[in-house]
């Protein structure tokens, strides 16, 4: 009556196959829960960064500022905003991943890492689509140039995504262990938008200021995107090693904490 054990093992699948299955199921469900059945929900998520760009552009028009790089104000702001929101959305969404999936984590086949991977795929895909649509729109409508060095631009996106994943994983762990972390995180991250070069380049700032801002890895990421995008733009302080170092360190620390710390009850 009992099946041979090899057959049972085959039915259960390898750990990697189980993980792929669970991540796929989480992805389908997250998409449905977050964006609803109507495709309009997803459309909103894609064009959301455009709202921020338009508000900033309006403010720039009022004070008569011109973009630090290039001719198109909208493009300059869009690159900053898209780069920033890629990193920021990952940090925030991964931070909530355990909490939002609490009910599903009752199923032993669902591991916490699966929820992080599923959310990362969803966020990165949404951000990429958002970038492509907004930048293509600006090229077509606003007469903005296409990216000069696409490979460097894409590498910058990857580095910012790595940072977002690392910070998001740490964020999730800290949320699980410290009840007040989400308030502290909110406080720390609030000035980040102002300090990340979304609407300026550090090149235009006095070196006393830009030297301090250079500690912010997100600023390196956004400048990296501009370096890839604009022909002949080469801000000398960008350090790819610095940004990637942040990304790798936070990712390794986050994954190690996820693996070796007890789940936490906050």
């Amino acid at each position: 009556m009992s099946a041979p054990s090899t057959d049972i093992a085959a039915r259960r699948g390898s750990p990697l196959a189980i993980m792929a299955r669970v991540v796929a199921a989480l992805l389908l469900r997250e998409t449905r829960v977050r964006f609803g059945r109507a495709q309009i929900g997803y459309l909103w998520a894609i064009i959301e960064p455009l709202g921020g760009v338009l508000v900033l552009a309006f403010a720039f028009q009022l004070i008569g500022r011109v973009p630090d790089v290039g001719q198109s104000l909208l493009l300059f702001l869009a690159i900053g905003m898209l780069g920033f929101s890629l990193q920021r959305r990952l940090t925030v969404q991964l931070g909530n991943a355990f909490d939002a999936n609490k009910a599903l984590l009752h199923f032993p086949v669902v591991k916490r890492i699966d929820t992080l991977i599923a959310r990362s795929i969803l966020e990165i895909a949404t951000s990429l689509l958002s970038m492509m649509i907004i930048i293509a729109g600006l090229v077509l409508i606003d007469g903005a140039p296409p990216p000069a060095r696409l490979d460097i631009f894409v590498a910058g996106i990857a580095a910012l995504a790595l940072l977002g994943f690392g910070l998001g994983t740490l964020n999730a762990i800290l949320n699980a262990h410290f009840r007040s972390w989400r308030h502290i995180e909110g406080l720390i991250s609030r000035p980040l938008f102002l300090m990340s070069g979304v609407f300026f380049t550090p090149v235009m700032l006095p070196s006393a200021v830009s030297d301090i801002l250079a500690w912010n890895p997100v600023l390196h990421g956004i400048e990296w995107l501009r370096y890839g995008y604009y022909e002949g733009y080469r801000p000398d302080f960008i350090s790819a090693e610095y940004l990637i170092g942040w990304g790798l360190t936070t990712t390794l620390a986050g994954l190690a904490a996820e693996r070796f710390l007890p789940p936490g009850e906050a």
Binding site: S5, I8, A9, R11, V22, R29, V33, A103, H106
Partner: protein, 226 residues
């Protein structure tokens, strides 16, 4: 077969630590096993360890075959989505044929139009029916049962018992229950969890007797002083 190899598990209780397992090595053969022990001895934790829902502090747990989640709770549902969506999700994570599972659960749970409604609108009985139907739809080699509450009217309860007995032709059960008669009707051997150790009894009656003796001792600590 389920093997525990040098497994230790403890958790914080107030200022101290409660040891559920201390360096425990044992093998559960393919039998129907009643997990017994006093309140707080760690019966549920043992099931959660075997299910893989919790990691041991030390040691390894090897399971052969597909092990269920600890049945008996209805907490694994996302309340904002429908019974159908929840069934689909669980069916996907266990690598099942989603259409077949949906058909079975729609029929077995008797939820009618509620199956397509958000789980938030369900009564606790309806949630339990959905949970039970899903666990019966998926074939496991081991069913871990933690205080399953019988739901519905007598006819539905009888249907649940019949479905479970049918599963147990091929599968085996590890069951926690306060009802000795429920344990007797499903299980033929016992695992007694007490003070960080697990003792196996080949005969469930011997296990129940040992458990009763421990309870007697616990109730009147003065009587042990000689």
């Amino acid at each position: 077969m389920i093997r525990l190899i040098e497994v230790s598990k403890s958790y914080k209780v107030g200022r101290g630590r409660k040891h559920v397992l201390r360096d425990t090595t044992l093998t559960f053969e393919r039998r129907n096993i009643a997990v017994i022990g006093q309140n707080g001895a760690g019966k549920s934790t043992l099931l959660r360890l075997i299910a893989g829902a919790e990691r041991p502090d030390r040691g390894h747990i090897l399971t052969e075959g597909r092990v269920s989640w600890p049945l008996g709770f209805a907490g694994g549902f996302n309340a904002s989505t429908t019974g159908i969506d929840n069934t689909r999700f669980i069916s996907r994570i266990y690598g099942q044929d989603t259409d077949r599972i949906l058909d079975f659960v729609r029929d077995f749970s008797e939820l009618g139009a509620f199956f397509a409604m958000p789980v938030a609108t369900y009564s606790s009985g309806m949630r339990a029916r959905l949970a039970f139907a899903i666990s019966m739809a998926i074939s496991f080699d081991w069913y871990l049962v933690d205080e399953i509450t019988e739901v519905g009217d007598d006819r539905f309860k009888e249907k649940c018992r019949a479905a479970f007995k049918e599963k147990l032709v091929d599968a085996r059960i590890l069951m926690v229950s306060h009802s000795v008669s429920t344990l007797r009707s499903y299980c033929d051997m016992a695992a007694l969890v007490h003070d960080g150790t697990v003792t196996l009894y080949d005969d469930i009656e011997k296990g129940i007797a040992a458990h009763k003796q421990l309870m007697g001792l616990a109730r009147s600590p003065g009587s042990t002083a000689a």
